[in-house]
Structures are given as structure tokens and as C-alpha cells.
Symmetry: C2
Subunit: 323 residues, 2 copies
């Protein structure tokens, strides 16, 4: 038996990952037993043992590390909007939790005379980048974040890389595209509308578009996100050649192209439920975001995402709309 | 009166900076009163009030922050070799100290309802970069450190940048070239020999060269280093446009060119005191280092270094050899 821990296991991606792991498709981890840790869980939740607690509790991380999981998915974070509004909370949840986790895992590594080296898959973000941007961001583009969220994720990448180089853990940082279409309610992320303008119309509800439809952005579905995580858990990390942060594949399109895809799938009625209501604050934040990538390394390493926005919408309809 | 604090004020650069500040040449800081903090100080030391303590003592940093210095130079660090050998100490001294310092300064900022915003000048390093390198590293080259020292410095840059973006401090990270010729004894840095092969022969002593003389590297004198720090303390940080880490100017040359410069200044007798004794460990580390830069931003911003290695040697002879 092998064992997996999902920090942030109560969140949208954490729950979908737990469902996916329960299907037994994670290569290299036979008879996988899954533990989820989060401040709370939806009911009914995904399969797996539930531990309720916060990653800001260093004592909890020490106890979890002592269980010596084979693979740890660290998804726990507060989103960009909240990290910008609550500076303290952002650095504690998004950065210091990684430090305490790594220190706790290193302690287990040392106790086992180096035998214990868990795979640690961390969800970083394209927010580690800051403008000015080229048309397409390649794998050599510098990380110069212009938000607290981005700075916290980038600092985690540095720590995870150095602890991995030293052999204490075997880590990867996955710079996720904006995940779209998110099921459920809008969240505090400034990117929330990218999902809202698809999700709400498909559910017969009104949606607000706070930016011009010329805005271009970089997307992947929740299904791609859990696919990235599973692929990273099974990857031969020698192939990373010491650069353990990866820009992941996604699909780049404008909001107009998103809306056109919605029209083709759900008709003009759906599109008519989108109301333009410009919001200068959101526009200012979104203008600082990357628009397109050329993620050659991740593609070479076998990471896969959607190749059209229609495909992203169809994934939402198949996986989430019916529920 | 304005007040400056030098963390790491007992070290080589800290002492030279204190001497330089005592001459009153720091623009924008009239009647400068200088405080030095370090674990120990040379005797006789540079002018300034001395506080003995470690930057790993968060309580001390809180007390220092409460004094609301106008400008703080954070030079305190353990060097690359020691950070690689002592993982714990490296992260505590080189990274966590910055976190506690920033948190303490932010607390003062909040106590003064935002009135207190100290200038904070941090000595980062070209160790934030990792190979493979282009022939010349430009200002857009990514930070992907391959040492603990480099990862710690890069993490500090991210924190300093975000605390500055939020207006809690007004910071700059200076990615110093390898400082050469260092006076005094060799230290634990793997780069120590770059100074040793000049300093020891000029003092009539034998020097060890552990790498082939084809090795190219990036140098600036201690005098340039204190010049960078003074220039950064007085710089209009609006000019940085949110990218607060700077690659600084220096001089790129091979070890053979260093030795040729020594020959022109001090003759063949001096050169004959250098003994080649290859050290595979040092060679492996040095092969991972940058060789040359095109630091256009810093040059545009008025930072200046030497334009020949002879000039670097002459600086050592004028400033340090006589003592």
C-alpha cells in the first residue's frame, strides 16, 4: 500500500483530485490510501480519510509529516484577492506553511537516515510572473511577481527547489493556468469572472463581465489540473535537471473567444445572460496578468491540457453541470 | 540628523561602509549618525555605535526596528560555502532574518499610521542565478538558483519587493558581483581564491589557484560595493518600476587575465607566488557561476564599478595593502 496526503483537500481541486485518485489511476502508487487535510470539507465529500485543521498550524504539519506519506499534494492556499487584502494571512498561509511543511519533512528524512524522501507536488501559479510580458512567455522568462500571492508562490518554489536539491524531498512546483470553468460559487480571486461568464449562463443565471472582451488569458480545466497533479506525482524528476518549477500547458484566448465558444455550445440565449459591467479595480489587476505561454518543457515532459475553449466548456458540462 | 543602521556592520563591507558614511558623502542623509550591529567587531573598528547581537534574534530586530532608522543596510549573511554546509544556519541567517526584520519594520510603519517607511538596502548576490547561462546575463534573465545561498537571497528579494510594493519599506536588492580583492584572511566562500591569488602575492605570500586559469568570472572591488550601497540609499526608487532587484555593474575577466594584471602591476615575482593546485570540489561549484553580465538597468540608474582588473588591484593597494 502507498499513501497520499492532500493539503487543501477540502477545496475544489483537492476534492476532484481525491475522486481521481480513488479510481486508482495514479501510476507508480499501487493500492493508494488517501488522506485529506483542510479547514473544512463539503458534504458529501470525496473518498479519503479527513483531517480537519489549518496548514498555518506547524504542530499539525509535524504530526502529518510523522505519518510519512509517499506523496504529498500541497494545494492549500488563500487566493490572490484575499492575499492582497490580508497581507499577514497571505504570507502565513501561502508561504510560512510551506516552510513548516518542508522543515517537518526534513526532520523525518533525517530520522530515517535519509531513507524517507516524499514526492511533494506544489500548486504554484502563473502569478509568479510580472509584466512587461512578451507575446508568449517561454520557460526562460523571469519570475518578477507584482502581487503578494505571486511573491508567496515564488518564495515557495525557491524553498521547494532547494530542499529537493539537497535530497530531503522530491518536489515539483506546477505553475497552474487559471482554472476554468470552476464549479460552484464565485470566489475572491480576481479571476473568478472567467468561470462566471460560462458557468452562470449554463445554469440559467446572469453573469457579470467586469473587463473588456479583448482581454486575453491562459486557461485550463479542473480536469487538466488534476491530470497535471497526477502526472507530476509519477514523473521522473531527474528529467527536470534542477529546474523544478514548470509552466504548464493551457489554452490562450480572449474573453470574446470564450463567449463565442459558449454561443456555439449553448446558443445566443446563454450569451445574452452576460452583462458587461466594467470594474476598474478588476481591470487593473487583470492587466497585470500573463496572456499566453509557450510551455515547451512541460509539454515535452508529457503534461497535457485542452486545445480549445469549447473543450474546456464541454469538460464543465460533463463533470460538473449535471450535479 | 538622520540615522543609519548597518546589519552585518562588523564584516569587511560593513566596516568599509561605516568609514565611508563617516565622511558624510551620503546624499540626502545630512548629519548621519551610524549604528552597527553584528556578532562581533574588529578592533579598532570603524566609527559608529556598536550593538552586539545576531540577526537570528528576532527580539533584537524588533528592538532595532523600534529605533526607526532612516536607512538600513542589511549585509548580514553567512557565505555560500557555509550555507551549503550548514543548511539550517543558512536558511535562518540568510532568509528568516529578513522575514523578521521586515515584519518588525512593518509593525513600526503601522504604529506610525504609515509615516515611517525606511529605505532598506539589501546585499543580494549573483548566486540567485543558475545555469545554463547565456554569454552575458541581461536584466531579464531568470533567477533559478542552484545553491542554498542563492535560493535564500532570491527568497529575500521576493519578500523585500512585496513589502516595498505595499509601501511598508522602500527597498532595493543589490545583486553584488564577487567582491575582489578582499583584504584579510581567506573565508569560507568558494570564491575566496579570486582574492587570494592577488592579495597573497602582493603580501609576499604563496597563493593557491584551485581552478584552471580559463575560468571567467564577474568582479567588483570593495570600494565599488560601498559605492553601490551609498548610491542605492539615495536613489529615487520610483525609477525601479516595481523591479527592485538589480544586477550591478562589474568587470568580467578570466583568471589568466587577473594574473596578467597582477604581473603588470607587481611583476613576475608576484605571479610566481601563485601555485596551481586543482580542487575538483571548488571547480564544480565555480562552473555553476555566472561569467559575465550586461547590467543595463543599473548602469542607467548610475551605479558604477571598475572598468579593468588593474583598477581593482590598484584599489586594493591604495585602500588595504598599506594597513
Amino acid at each position: 500500500m502507498t499513501r497520499a496526503l492532500i493539503l487543501g483537500g477540502g477545496g475544489m481541486i483537492g476534492q476532484k483530485l481525491a475522486h481521481r485518485l480513488a479510481t486508482g489511476e495514479l501510476k507508480g502508487y499501487p493500492d493508494l490510501d488517501v488522506t485529506l487535510c483542510d479547514r473544512g470539507f463539503p458534504a458529501p465529500g470525496a473518498p479519503g480519510r479527513q483531517i480537519t485543521g489549518s496548514v498555518t498550524d506547524a504542530g499539525l504539519l509535524t504530526k502529518l509529516a510523522a505519518q510519512r506519506f509517499d506523496v504529498i499534494f500541497h494545494l492549500a492556499a488563500i487566493v490572490s484577492g484575499e492575499a492582497e487584502a490580508d497581507f499577514d494571512k497571505g504570507w502565513q498561509v501561502n508561504m510560512m506553511s510551506m516552510w513548516h511543511l518542508l522543515e517537518a519533512l526534513r526532520a523525518e528524512h533525517l530520522k530515517t537516515s535519509g531513507a524517507y524522501v516524499p514526492r511533494l507536488v506544489f500548486t504554484s501559479s502563473i502569478a509568479v510572473f510580472g509584466g512587461p510580458y512578451p507575446d508568449k512567455i517561454d520557460d526562460e522568462f523571469l519570475s518578477a511577481p507584482q502581487t503578494s500571492y505571486g511573491a508567496q508562490k515564488a518564495a515557495c518554489e525557491l524553498m521547494l527547489s532547494d530542499f529537493s536539491r539537497k535530497g530531503f524531498v522530491d518536489g515539483l512546483s506546477l505553475r497552474l493556468p487559471t482554472i476554468c470553468v470552476r464549479p460552484g460559487k464565485p470566489n475572491l480571486a480576481a479571476s473568478s469572472f472567467f468561470s462566471g461568464i460560462i458557468r452562470e449562463p449554463l445554469n440559467g443565471e446572469q453573469a457579470i463581465l467586469p473587463v473588456p472582451d479583448t482581454v486575453r488569458h491562459w486557461h485550463a480545466s479542473p480536469k487538466s489540473a488534476t491530470g497535471f497533479l497526477c502526472h507530476a506525482a509519477a514523473l521522473d524528476t531527474d528529467l527536470l535537471e534542477g529546474r523544478r518549477a514548470l509552466n504548464l500547458p493551457g489554452f490562450s484566448c480572449t474573453v470574446a473567444e470564450q463567449i463565442e465558444a459558449l454561443r456555439r455550445i449553448a446558443g445566443q440565449d446563454a450569451v445574452d445572460r452576460i452583462q458587461a459591467r466594467p470594474d476598474p479595480d478588476i481591470m487593473r489587476i487583470v492587466q497585470g496578468w500573463p496572456r499566453n505561454f509557450a510551455p515547451a518543457r512541460a509539454i515535452d515532459l508529457g503534461f497535457k491540457a485542452e486545445s480549445s475553449f469549447e473543450e474546456i466548456i464541454e469538460t464543465y458540462i460533463a463533470d460538473d453541470l449535471a450535479r
